[in-house]
Subunit: 396 residues, 2 copies
């Protein structure tokens, strides 16, 4: 299989730290991966990400295969060289976007619309599906030029090999939370078939992760956890609808937990809510990825730690010029990032109000620091057997 060495470290209940060695270096888990959608985290350069101490980022195959095209990145020498990022990288399979351009849009579920590639258009309305899935793969149209594409399990692996990240993902079908059990079950069989196809197609030393699906049905999730864990994947990801409530997400993580191999890293796909991160770490998750830090920045929110941040405000505050124009305090007086060291709420709210690029930059930098710093604290807390105390201190 691919190059990946994972060693668990301290633990507290199911929560655990780990050391994950990939081709471009070794990282400590649990960790949050910022999403470098188009080989760039929105508003933050690779220099910024290095300065922020990011250990691992994930790029979107759907976007990169269309723009600039896998060939451009392959000829550059792979994503690390293209982006000038010296630490590990992951790519997804392109499948999630196939989903969000298909069923996600048709059902117009809140969670999914977060990921709609055309998000800059601000659309949350259901749109006509531009993706069709059959057992061979996903037919979809490019959001850039409406051109037709067909993504197969083998094709996804091939493209991810061209992109050249350290860790890649199998093509799966991410069902909508509104799909019924019959559809989800049939879809799960396809996802499992594709997992095997991806394994057979995989031909490099990139680490390959399998994905557990199964919607919010216990038997389907257990079946999927058992099946994916039985295959020689380097890493295990948990995908799909993670429930329509917090409790459902907890249930899913608890159902699958007994089947997960201890010695493989576990990646909960697309999760970036503070409360969820605590709850998932408590249930044995090692890796997270989400666009929330920079997406929230673009919509004018900045994250705050306790005491300003709490479960009720979801640890974030809306940047409103009229509220902050005379406020000389940093975004979060408890934060030690360079933005909070250098700039006031008055200044940042003015920049944001004027839609200045630097306003987006400063909010994105602070928010990304918030998540990476939270993960550092979680790792330290587990090492010191103080994770449950940290969780309580955050009011979760």
């Amino acid at each position: 299989m691919g190059y990946l060495r994972f060693k668990t470290g301290s633990s507290e209940g199911e929560a655990r730290t780990g050391t994950l060695k990939l081709r471009h270096g070794t990282i400590r888990t649990p960790e949050f991966m910022p999403v470098a959608t188009r080989a760039i985290v929105k508003a933050l350069s690779s220099d910024d990400m290095a300065e922020l101490g990011a250990q691992l980022m994930i790029c979107n195959t759907y976007h990169l295969m269309l723009k600039p095209g896998a060939e451009v990145i392959e000829r550059a020498g792979g994503l690390n060289i293209f982006m000038n990022w010296k630490k590990p990288l992951a790519t997804d399979s392109g499948g999630f976007q196939a989903f969000s351009l298909g069923f996600g849009l048709e059902h117009a579920t809140g969670k999914i619309s977060l990921y709609f590639p055309g998000e800059h258009k601000g659309s949350r309305k259901p749109q006509k599906s531009i993706a069709k899935i059959d057992n061979n793969g996903v037919h979809f149209r490019s959001v850039y030029d409406n051109s037709k594409h067909f993504l197969t399990p083998e094709g996804s692996i091939k493209i991810q090999e061209q992109l050249g990240a350290d860790m890649i993902l199998v093509l799966d079908e991410c069902t909508s939370p509104l799909s019924d059990k019959e559809y989800t079950s049939k879809s799960l069989d396809r996802t499992h078939l594709w997992a095997e196809k991806c394994l057979r197609a995989h031909d490099t030393d990139q680490a390959l992760a399998g994905i557990i699906q199964g919607g919010h049905w216990q038997d389907l999730r257990e079946k999927s956890a058992q099946f994916i864990s039985s295959l020689p994947f380097d890493s295990i990801a948990i995908g799909g609808s993670l429930g329509r409530s917090k409790k459902e997400m907890h249930d899913i993580l608890e159902w699958i937990h007994p089947y997960l191999p201890e010695d493989k890293p576990r990646h909960l796909l697309g999760i970036g809510v503070v409360e969820d991160i605590f709850e998932a770490v408590e249930r044995g998750i090692d890796l997270f990825d989400c666009v929330t830090p920079t997406r929230m920045a673009r919509t004018g929110y900045f994250y705050v730690r306790p005491p300003l941040g709490n479960k009720a405000n979801k640890f974030k505050i809306k940047m409103v010029f009229e509220r902050f124009k005379f406020d000389s305090k940093p975004l979060d007086p408890e934060c030690n990032c360079k933005v909070c060291g250098n700039y006031s709420r008055a200044y940042i709210s003015h920049l944001y109000n004027m839609n200045e690029i630097v306003g987006h930059y400063l909010l994105s930098y602070h928010n990304t620091h918030f998540f990476l710093n939270l993960m550092r604290e979680i790792r330290e807390a587990i090492d010191d057997s103080k994770f449950s105390r940290l969780k309580k201190r955050w009011g979760i």
Copy 2:
């Protein structure tokens, strides 16, 4: 008068170096001031500007009095604290925007439309004037909310005192290159009247610069140079229409040169073309300001030194994805900025093509470095009596 100490250093012909001491520090001239329009250089934070080695920036009073408002900046403790910029700052009077919103737009002259505050709308068409000038001041409407404002010479000084920059400018009328001699002459009397009013109104230790106007008429320019030089200004600026041809700009600078005091810095307002900078330094200019580096970045141009850059291509190249997508070279192989050290044309052209914020950032950073580095070379060349050789080496 205000706090400003200027000492000339080396010289070569009329070209000269100088040491300019202002309240927030000492800078070396000739220097180019990046324009921090709304208390921010577009796409570049104060941290970036410090890293780039900028010595002095200029902010726009017109924009700041409207957004966030002078009171916000005054209560923050002034522009330096508001922006977290520790080195010297200048502000303009707001007059230029009164012009560009008035006659400039009516005449739709190319040069002026560069400065149209609504430039993001991409409009170069003549629009109905929303400014009226009389002897007391300028009546104008806000581009932000269409509210009515009246800017007087005394009011401009008062607002600039609230903003608190190290160096401020008198309110003047910047006539259009299409104004006739009769109008320009009448306008010049008003500009001189306002210069005296500003001197009387000025009541802080901020350095105050007078502005020479007079269009492209030798007698008017000489009259203005004589008049402004006779007043106790700390610094002399040259404004207005700098001619409809290179030759006309050279003529204007040569006409006024005999009247300029040796011991005051000379600021050529709004100039940012490489060739013009060389020609103006050769004619004794010490300070420049222009939005070109970041504006060109936004429109997708990157600056290049010789041999790639030359008079014909105006030392800039258009960023076209299809042309650069397989190009692993830096923007300019001759450049020593961090962007050229870290990122390829392929990557930057992809980011620019996708309208990613970081694409704008990288181009803005490189372009600003280009100008600041050019000025460093010009200073060194004058110190070494090699300015004319440098000018020749740049093909000018």
